[in-house]
Amino acid sequence: MLILTCPCCGVTGEETEFHQGGEAHLKRFGPGSTDDDFHTYMFAKENPKGAHFERWRHNNGCGKWFIMARDTVTLEVYGSYPAQTHEPPQHIRDAITAKRPGWTWREFA
């Protein structure tokens, strides 16, 4: 069971109050992009053993979307931050580095 904090309303709750919404920090390739780019955007997802970034929605609470960094092995939550953030903030990266030195996730490290 994940215990997470919504950065929008400040509620700390367990995961059944929230809903997972897929991988975070995706760059969309829509109409007009090459088939390769669209294929990668659509199907090539990260599936790490360790730190992972996901979009979540507080669907039984304030209804807002946010991004969460968690660990797929230990189910530890490194932190959450607003959905309007283009890359993981430094304090989240530091929290992951403390537990998993040398981690990488897509272009982030």
């Binding site: 309303c9 400040g10 509620v11 709750g13 367990e14 109050e17 304030c62």
Partner: protein, 189 residues
């Protein structure tokens, strides 16, 4: 003119706690920039209250202002006065970006009171409802078994719970089961 009734039509159950339909209540959803002077004036005109802080419920005489999300409030008032209060909100926010809707008939409003009230709710919601963890004036939206719900606690120790009208029967039956005598856990006793 149709005769408005609540989904539960005044249902009442007495067990570990008393669960009662609160009857027809005026409810207005107000969305906008909660920090703006316009919203402040609108909330004042509709309820006589201030804009509640994050996760706070403010109660007045027959009114309430509830913090739903960073850009949304729920205002409570007498059922018959929704129209005129809505007009007051629209006047206060004229020219600004906002949304104010009468949702009185879309919600069910229950009161959970009595010595077992905390426990009855704690059995069905993943929320710390201990006397230290949940204090009067706090407002919480969460999951109640299979449906979303929102509740707050008043100074007298009564919980006020709002959920969708479409799940009124489920919510009432659920709380009834949770409040059945013999089901005491005694966690907060």
């Amino acid at each position: 003119m149709s005769n408005a009734v609540t989904a539960l039509n005044g249902a009442n159950y007495q067990g570990l706690a008393t669960i009662a339909d609160q009857g027809l209540t005026g409810m207005i959803t107000l969305r906008g920039d909660l920090a703006s002077a316009g919203i402040k004036a609108a909330v004042k005109s509709a309820t006589g209250l201030d804009v509640p802080a994050q996760r706070q419920a403010l109660m007045g005489k027959g009114t309430a202002a509830l913090w739903m999300s960073p850009d949304e409030l729920l205002l409570l008032c007498p059922y018959a006065e929704v129209g005129e209060r809505l007009a007051g909100i629209e006047a206060a926010l004229k020219g600004q970006h906002f949304l104010a809707v009468n949702v009185s008939d879309a919600r069910t409003f229950l009161r959970i009171s009595g010595y077992g009230a905390r426990e009855v709710l704690a059995k069905v919601c993943p929320v710390d409802l201990s006397p230290e963890g949940f204090t009067p004036g706090m407002f919480r939206r969460t999951r109640m078994a299979q449906v979303p719900a929102a509740f707050w606690l008043d100074e007298a120790g009564n919980f006020h719970l709002i959920c969708f009208r479409s799940v009124a029967d489920y919510a009432f039956e659920l709380l009834k089961v949770s409040a059945q005598p013999g089901g005491e856990v005694g966690l907060y006793a």
